[in-house]
């Protein structure tokens, strides 16, 4: 169970998030929807530790933790960003095994073995030696998901996962997220795509811009 309590964040004296609470049980998907400017992305950045919060507390399985340091030397929280964030200088396989080798200290063989299993699960076989620019949007996204999964995160956050995809690919991504539900992973999806949210969410939270 992941809980965020009373999260607040200001930018240049403008309150973006005020006393926000959320809870994600194990194996569940929480979708955060809302119009542009409602603070969805800021909220996601706070949850992933990319931004510090002005106030609020985070708990993972009832243990307090700080997202800004949670990924030091491991990966507690994974993020699949809107532009996928793949490293263009590395092949698909190198993208996936880089962090497991450097951070989790797996041997190259161990990292490759793990990556191969995930690649198979997410239908990326045959793409291992391609560079990101040679992949379609949907494939890039799946590589980003595999790369995140390879670090065994407890929580995976997605920032607008369907913004670059057509409806068919969006549905496919939805199926992948549902498939991951059985792996004791908590998933948080920020999206403005209500159809997608309805397809994957166990719970939907709507955020509105603060006046």
């Amino acid at each position: 169970m992941f809980r965020a309590l009373n999260i607040s964040k200001k930018f240049n004296e403008k309150q973006i998030i005020s006393n926000f609470n959320l809870e994600v049980p194990d194996n569940k998907i929480l979708c955060i929807v809302g119009p542009s400017g409602a603070g969805k992305s800021t909220l996601l950045r706070c949850l992933t530790g990319l931004e510090s919060t002005d106030s609020g507390e985070f708990y993972l399985n009832d243990k307090k933790f700080d997202p800004t340091t949670a990924n030091n030397k491991k990966s507690t929280i994974g993020l699949v960003s809107q532009d996928f964030g793949l490293f263009p200088n590395l092949t698909v396989m190198e993208n996936i095994i880089l962090a497991p080798q450097l951070v989790l200290k797996l041997s190259k063989e161990e990292a490759l073995g793990k990556a191969q299993k995930l690649i198979k699960t997410l239908n990326l076989s045959g793409k291992e030696q391609l560079y990101p620019y040679q992949l379609s949007g949907g494939q890039k996204q799946r590589v980003a998901i595999v790369r995140t999964l390879a670090m065994n995160p407890k929580i995976i956050c997605y920032d607008e996962p369907t913004s670059a995809l057509d409806p068919k690919l969006s549905e496919e991504v939805g199926k992948i997220l549902n498939k991951l539900k059985s792996n004791n992973i908590m998933q948080i999806v920020v999206t403005h795509d209500m159809d997608f949210a309805k397809q994957v969410a166990d719970r939907i939270i709507t955020v509105e811009p603060l006046s």
Binding site: L50, Y133, R147
Partner: protein, 221 residues
């Protein structure tokens, strides 16, 4: 032909000096330029020392000084000027100091542009995967920066081959000086034509190497 055979050893030994200055300057100034550019782009260097100036300001001043004054002046300053205040360099060392400091400033600006063109999301993705800043810089950022800056670095490398001829001013016998002496002594244009050909060969060789490096980096975009 006999004349060419006669003067070629002195020209080639001059070319060797040119090559040595060229290679050592690159070996010193490129890493120094990368370090300086990291200083220019890092938030850590904004902190003021003794509440007067920050490391970033010191680096900016250094780059302004090096790019704002002639390399010839810097060479003369290091070899003839510094001994007045007790800092003495051998001719060759003085040339390396002046060239390396000057070129590092240009490389720093080129690398700064490269670092600044890397999207913030690359750093964030690396941090979300648990990579520390050194791992991120080494495995993710530097390869991307190198790809971006290679054409500009190439320009500077070609410039350096030609700029190395300035060492004559502190009495180092390089390729140009060897040709100049032979022309003055024998009253013929041939030595200078040979010098021209050797410079062209050197720059052509650099161009080929740079093209190969560019090709290596073209496997990804």
């Amino acid at each position: 032909m006999d004349y060419i055979v006669n003067i070629l050893p002195s020209l080639l030994s001059g070319a060797l000096v040119t090559l040595k200055v060229f290679l050592w300057t690159l070996v010193i100034s490129i890493p120094l330029g990368i370090i300086l550019s990291l200083g220019l782009t890092s938030k850590l260097t904004n902190k003021k020392i003794l509440k007067i100036f920050s490391i970033k300001q010191v680096i900016e001043f250094y780059i302004w000084l090096m790019r704002g004054t002639p390399l010839l002046l810097q060479l003369i300053f290091v070899f003839y000027g510094l001994p007045i205040i007790g800092i003495v360099f051998q001719r060759y060392d003085a040339a390396l100091v002046a060239f390396s400091l000057n070129y590092a400033a240009y490389f720093a600006e080129i690398f700064r542009g490269g670092f600044q063109s890397i999207p913030k999301t690359q750093y964030e993705s690396a941090s979300m995967l648990g990579l520390n800043s050194w791992q991120t810089t080494r495995k993710v950022i530097i390869p991307q920066v190198l790809k971006i800056v290679i054409p500009s670095i190439g320009n500077e490398v070609i410039n350096l081959v030609k700029d190395s001829s300035l060492v004559y001013v502190i009495g180092i016998g390089d390729l140009l000086q060897a040709g100049n002496i032979a022309t003055a002594r024998d009253v013929t244009l041939l030595p200078l034509i040979l010098v021209t050909i050797i410079y062209l060969l050197l720059t052509a060789f650099c161009t080929i190497i740079l093209r190969k490096i560019e090709k290596y980096y073209s496997s990804w975009r």
